[in-house]
């Protein structure tokens, strides 16, 4: 039997794996009725923990209903280096595509927030830990260029473990490419709001995530360049309480506002209005 394409796989996944009725909060371990968790934007009603969400769910939450129009939705990853670790990259990709029903780790497109048209890029942590390879870099660059060409505000929601190792130098260069595209967008006077969700680390933080004209972060999100484990191994001492959280970054001066998921649409709209875009 031929391998199912990703779209067929999506359908298969949706048919065979119904959502669980209950979800346990990874923070306070409270068992929550799935429907009420979803109604609460996947924020724990008991402890206010912001659970990680897929790019599609984020878009649903963020945009006015039915306004999302995807850009470059068919772009798919390749294996430029023939990368093999304990498993070939190409197999990892196929497996993740099948499980997630997505082609790669980002969704981009246009849509409206409270009636304001904008371009959005949303990273998907559920796809290979939201790692940035060529597809993520290329789709984001195209959406930045789209915002530049059409003079639209740009919102990128980041959540990523960093650059994708399996594409090595190609991944690394996506940092330069996206940042260069943002330079042009900046030259054109565009507004870029960067939203940092849990977790935002590595090469993603060290490129577009930190380049917002305005930077929002979700409460308690882990945000940093080096991962806490690497830092601990290097300095061999305990990390301070709350290190690399959104609150830590706000205090250090690198995040403009910590925004609760329920306020994100309002806060984005306010900035767009202030910017006059």
């Amino acid at each position: 039997m031929p391998e199912p394409t990703w779209t067929e796989a999506t359908v298969a996944v949706k048919k065979t794996v119904p959502d669980g009725l209950w979800t346990q909060c990874p923070e306070c371990e409270e068992t929550i009725f799935r429907k009420s968790l979803e109604a609460n934007l996947m924020v724990c009603p008991k402890c206010d923990h912001h659970l990680r969400i897929s790019a599609r769910r984020r878009i649903e939450q963020l945009l006015d209903p039915g306004t999302f129009e995807p850009l470059d939705a068919d772009m798919s990853p390749m294996d430029p280096l023939g990368f093999v670790d304990q498993k070939p990259y190409i197999d990892r990709l196929r497996e993740t595509q099948r499980k997630s029903g997505e082609i790669d780790g980002v969704q981009t497109g246009t849509g409206f927030i409270k009636g304001r048209k904008l371009v959005v890029g949303v990273m998907d942590f559920t796809f290979m830990a939201g790692s940035m390879g060529s597809v993520v870099g290329e789709r984001l660059t195209r959406c930045i260029e789209h915002a530049t060409d059409h003079s639209l505000p740009l919102v990128i929601v980041s959540c990523s473990g960093g650059a994708r190792m399996q594409e090595s130098g190609f991944s690394l260069m996506q940092m330069a490419k996206t940042s260069a595209a943002l330079a042009r967008f900046d030259d054109s006077g565009g507004l870029y709001i960067s939203v940092l969700a849990d977790p935002t680390t590595g090469g993603v933080t060290a490129s577009y995530a930190m380049l917002g004209d305005v930077i929002f972060a979700e409460p308690k999100a882990l945000i940093g360049f080096a991962g806490p484990r690497v830092i601990q191994q290097t300095i061999r001492q305990a990390l301070p309480e709350g290190f690399q959280t959104a609150e830590f970054l706000e205090k250090a001066g690198f995040v403009d506002r910590i925004v609760h998921r329920s306020a994100l649409r309002t806060e984005i709209s306010r900035i767009i209005d202030y910017s006059g875009k």
Binding site: M75, S76, P77, M78, D79, P80, L81, F83, D85, Q86, G133, S134, V135, G137, E138, T141, A163, R164, M165, E167, S168, G169, F170, S171, L172, M173, Q174, M175, A176, K177, S179, A180, A181, A183, R184, D186, G203, T205, A206, S207, Y208, A209, M210, L211, G224, F225, A226, G227, V230, I231, T234, I235, L239, P240, F243, Q244, F248, A252, G253, F254
Partner: protein, 318 residues
């Protein structure tokens, strides 16, 4: 020059060198000149053969050789009238990134480069070439100054990666690199970037956005070090997995050139840059002078557009 430190895979070469020195030390050395000459020839051909077929992991070892020339060595060898500039005017002066004006051949330019440190004290001060945010901010501040003076910029990349520490995170390591990537992409003067040793991830790219990006033959450039990659993907970094990771990452100059991620490879003297720093410095000087002359003929708008298009084209998608 002090004795060259031998890497494990160079043992056969070291053995021949030992024999040569024993024979040359004998009172009847002149009588056995033929034998000595043959040994010298064997040594040369073995050295070329070894360095002509280094594995990726061996290349990484050469790139990290303790005697490999660093930014300040090259500055000393190729820059006249060196005028170092310190500090980021915000937090401090990071010795892991050196910046200053100098004259290379007939060209006045700004040199920016990672410095790992020569002795233990300097290495500790430089955090072994791992820069802090103030290093990246110093680099950008001086690059903006060069832009104002219409001077070309030469960056020498040699870092295992940006420093992973509490202060670095607190002072915005990620932000400092991100801003450099954005700002370097729109500098209106020629920018030449050369990986002279280690090109470790974002810490390397943070001074690596240029019109021409080159690598020395035995340097490496990748999204992560082989050990870092091995620890994550093979769950353990050891000699075997480091080898596998170095292969998988396509981190050598040849691989990066073939993948279109860099523009040029600068050949090294036989046996690596550390065996003949002067010849290496001359090759770098030639490269810089040639490329800067070429780029200085291009008007700033076109220069910036072409730089954008160069990085814009990097993708492996369908």
């Amino acid at each position: 020059m002090s004795a060259v430190q031998i890497l494990d895979f160079e043992q056969p070469i070291a053995e021949i060198e030992r024999q040569i020195s024993v024979l040359e030390g004998r009172p009847d050395a002149s009588a056995i000149a033929d034998e000595i000459r043959t040994l010298h020839e064997t040594r040369s051909s073995l050295l070329s053969k070894t360095y002509g077929s280094l594995t990726p992991w061996q290349t990484v070892r050469v790139a990290r050789h303790p005697q490999r020339p660093q930014t300040l060595d090259y500055v000393q060898m190729i820059c006249r009238d060196w005028c170092e500039l310190h500090g980021d005017r915000r937090h401090g002066d990071d010795p892991a990134i050196v910046t200053g004006f100098g004259r290379i051949g007939s060209i006045k330019c700004l040199v920016v480069g990672h410095q790992k440190g020569r002795d233990t004290k300097e290495r500790l001060a430089c955090h072994f070439g791992c820069a802090h945010p103030e290093g990246y901010r110093k680099a950008l501040l001086k690059m903006k100054l060069a832009e104002k003076f219409r001077l070309p910029i030469v960056t020498l990349i040699d870092t295992p990666g940006a420093y992973p520490g509490i202060g670095a995170e607190q002072r915005g390591q990620a932000e400092s690199i991100a801003v450099n990537l954005r700002e370097m992409s729109r500098l209106r003067v020629p920018v030449i970037c050369i990986v002279i040793g280690e090109g470790g991830s974002g810490g390397a790219l943070g001074i690596g956005v240029g019109d021409r990006v080159a690598m020395l033959q035995n340097s490496w450039y990748s999204v992560i070090s082989p050990e870092g990659c091995a620890a994550i993907l093979w769950k353990e970094a050891n000699e075997k997995t480091n080898n596998l990771a170095a292969n998988a990452l396509s981190l050598t100059a040849t691989h990066n050139l073939r993948n279109g991620l860099i523009d040029d490879v600068i050949p090294e003297p036989v046996g690596g840059a550390h065996r003949n720093p002067k010849a290496m410095a001359e090759a770098i000087q030639h490269y810089v002078v040639d490329r800067v002359r070429e780029l200085q003929r291009i008007d700033p708008d076109t220069l910036v557009r072409k730089r954008y298009e160069k990085f814009r084209a990097i993708a492996s998608v369908k």
